[in-house]
Assembly symmetry: C2
Homo-oligomer: 519 residues x 2
């Protein structure tokens, strides 16, 4: 058996499915490119039948793929599988992933007998295999499925042509010894086991997803399904960064390796946290801001002669560089271009001119401009075709309310003004936007964090709006928190309008979920 463990990332499918983590089309493409670039073997790009948006994202990611296999999810029926194939077929290496819940609790949903389910699995995997050479079968809730039936479903899938067999711990129920034993027993007893790769897909409900995944590898699994930051429903999925680093740090007792370049972990972790609106807690393993002692800002104890005394990884192993003061108000255009190139942003001259103006504005307001400030500045630049733009805002707030906002918005090219009041500066500014552009969206999430330290730090604000089941997340950064909040709100609203126009509600609300197992 090979010692290579395939990394299957499902940030864009299982991760994106978590309530509130919805990403835009452009964000999905960007994350997929980063995953491909860092050496992820298989990218599960979405659930094509779930919505037009999901289909378009999977198809676009397939077309743009370079080295990674692009996988789409489909329930166990021909319509799902056909739709999945239509999306992934554009990839250099396409994969169809089809599944059904095999435990007693899950069999009850479509109300199938064991025999009926067995027949369904045979037909669906055969159908998928007729479309695509690379077919993954998952017996959902495998860890709670009766052994005999689990064995039977896996054998049928292998006979029907599945090339990868996934054994999901759908509810985060298993423990390491059990996880290893299950895979070991399947490999020992299932007919045809030697012709396929076994995969492990763990959830973190009891906090053991990483250990369970690695135990499955010790049992013989050679594909780990995971997400960046452990994003996913409930307590999330196995965190990619944890399994990749554990394999690296403990190669002595776990002689397996992945193809992932761990130095790209921090960049994608930050990006996924930003676009999903799911912040990473300070004490998160590998990617939390406290995960490495040197990041805490507290100086190292003088007696520590050796960093290894308290660190088993070097910060650079995960792509963490020291926060560095990079620029100030006297920095020139060439310096900005070179620094941005270093951060991965290549700009044309006209783009640079625009960014330089905004950089100067920022440098005037903020004494020190850090790398993170530049990244925030660049991210703001990625505006969609906005119908609503903020021209000016003046807010008066304080202890003796009501708070008032005077706003000028450019809506479809026409300037409009409003004066409103509200409970607090943010509420009054949001009310001003509502007064000028009528909408019923509900604020689901409002979150502020300082990009860098100090009272003159830029504040990054995330706003998530929900309207008729459509969700859009907006972001903005500014040294003025109220301005950042208003821009983030407008950003979310612009995205919501795009969704509203593009799709009928029932297409976009993901009326179809992977929890529906009917045909």
């Amino acid at each position: 058996m090979t010692d290579r463990v395939l990394i299957f990332d499902t940030t864009l499918r299982d991760g994106e499915q978590s309530p509130g983590a919805t990403m835009t089309h452009a964000e999905k493409l960007e994350i997929a490119a980063m995953l491909d670039d860092m050496g992820v073997d298989i990218i599960e790009a979405g659930f094509p039948i779930a919505s037009e948006g999901d289909f378009a994202a999977v198809a676009a990611i397939a077309k743009a793929s370079r080295n990674a296999t692009i996988c789409g999810l489909s329930r166990a029926n021909f319509k799902d599988i056909d739709r999945c194939w239509e999306a992934v077929k554009h990839a250099k290496k396409p994969r169809i992933h089809t599944f059904i819940g095999t435990s007693a609790l899950h069999r009850a949903i479509p109300n199938l007998t064991m025999d009926q389910m067995a027949e369904r699995i045979h037909d669906c995997v055969t159908h998928a295999r007729n479309l695509c050479d690379d077919v993954q079968w998952s017996s959902m809730d495998a860890t709670r499925t009766e052994w005999d039936f689990l064995k039977r479903t896996v054998e049928i899938a292998i006979k029907a042509g599945a090339t990868t067999i996934n054994i999901p711990d759908t509810v985060g129920y298993t423990a390491p010894v059990e996880s290893a034993d299950l895979i070991r027993r399947l490999i020992a007893e299932v007919e045809g086991a030697e012709t396929v790769i076994f995969a492990t897909h763990c959830h973190n409900d009891l906090g053991m997803a990483t250990a369970n995944s690695l135990a499955a590898v010790e049992g013989g699994a050679r594909q780990i399904e995971c997400t960046i930051n452990g994003l996913g429903e409930r307590a999330g999925n196995t965190a990619l960064e944890e399994v990749v680093m554990a394999l690296k740090v403990r190669a002595d007792i776990m002689p397996y390796h992945s193809n992932v370049d761990s130095r790209k972990i921090m960049a994608i972790s930050r990006r996924v946290a930003t676009v999903s609106g799911f912040p990473v807690q300070f004490n998160k393993a590998i990617v939390g801001k406290n995960a490495f002692a040197h990041e805490s800002g507290i100086h190292q104890d003088g007696m520590l002669k050796n960093a290894e005394t308290f660190e088993i990884m070097r910060p650079t192993d995960v792509g963490l560089t020291e926060t560095s003061l990079v620029m100030g108000k006297h920095s020139g255009r060439a310096a900005l271009r070179s620094k941005l190139a270093e951060l991965g942003f290549e700009l044309a001259d006209n783009q640079l001119a625009d960014v330089f103006v905004r950089f100067k504005e920022l440098a005037d307001r903020k004494k020190e401009v850090f790398e993170e400030d530049l990244v925030a500045l660049m991210r703001q630049n990625e505006a969609v075709e906005d119908r609503i733009r903020l021209k000016s805002l003046r807010v008066v707030c304080g202890t003796s309310g009501p708070q008032t906002a005077d706003i000028v918005l450019d809506i479809d090219g026409t300037e409009r003004t409003a004066h409103t009041t509200g409970d607090g500066p943010v509420d009054s500014a949001f009310n001003a936007v509502k007064a000028l552009f009528d909408h019923k969206a509900r604020l689901q999430l409002y979150q502020v964090h300082a990009v860098t330290e100090g009272t003159d730090a830029q504040a990054t604000v995330t706003v998530r709006l929900e309207e008729d089941g459509r969700i859009a997340t907006g972001q903005s950064a500014d040294t003025d928190t109220v301005v950042a909040s208003t821009k983030a709100y407008i950003n979310a609203l612009n995205r919501l309008i795009v969704r509203r126009e593009k799709t009928a509600p029932d297409h976009d609300t993901k009326g179809v979920s992977y929890k529906d197992v009917g045909a």
Copy 2:
């Protein structure tokens, strides 16, 4: 061997030690009372020699203890141990915990040979045991210590009278099979092993702390050391909520039990997140806001006939209740008192009068008042003896800066006013405070989150200030974000002043850390 697993909580020691998580004296007492109340067996209350503050907290917690054993940490020297005993001796059940780093990397710090270290261990444990019947010995960095030497240190500690032997995975390096094997081998080969309880103390650097702790129990350990929310340095410690719930949910394969009342988990998790300023990520196992599907606000799929299909725990098992609309502007005093009593706040008449006024103010500004809003309101009430109080604030901000603030503060009973500008409303308000009360504190953390949903939500702001190594965290909630920010800043500053006055810098900065092993 018993199937009872002792839960040893070190939120107040290893958790509080994480950079930025410093808690006040009152907060430590409150958390200790909650731990005692929920059935934690041993509470590690602090590191008495580290500072006057630590000593006072451990002593006060010891005096207030009811059922739990109260433990203090001490390095392996007589002075530390004596100081520890002075603090814990007030407890009904006191424990002295002493340790030294036994791995090669750690032996190099105090530059001791193996023989010298062995002698030190013997002397220190003997000394501790002469003071206290309950002595815990830790061979720090045990998982990276040579087997022969680890065995030797443990045997010496047992002979010298240690009653609990802790085997820490100080750097979060181990994996489940290795963790179980190490304990199993110690129990099999160490002379006197049957007379002591073995403890496991794991860190989460590779994301496996929970699995490693439970594996150690399978290997024979009967004490798990953990913290609420997995708080702790770097990636933190084993999370109490995860081990407690895993033992409960998987009693079929892990036939051990703890004495912790899991229904008290959510309340203490939220409280620790608040006082430490370490937020819990949405997808954190057990205590994240997404950990239970029903919390997401997304309605359950109609096809789900049975919650167990996707949930292995009931939300009520961890004390999670549905967010409920409780009060509005027409609610009366009796209703408020009764609701607050339900939330655990018993008020005297004069206190109620004060809270009622602030409740009415809030209800006027916010259409719906939720339980969380009331809790936030009550928390604000717990002001220390403040030297600085906010009388009024008016801030003008927006796109055409500079932002301005007009502030009136009551400082030591005298009203003073200032008009200042700044980069953003928060910066200008903070500058106004600085103009009236000179200080050099640096902003380390600025964090805003909405207590409830909706644009008129109260914003809770956390501000952490640092001055000469002293750290203070302040919090406040208000529908006006800028007001909440300013109050939080003033709250942090008041706490900093108390610290400044109480202690000389070298006492308060914890110049002594558990990483210093000399003496």
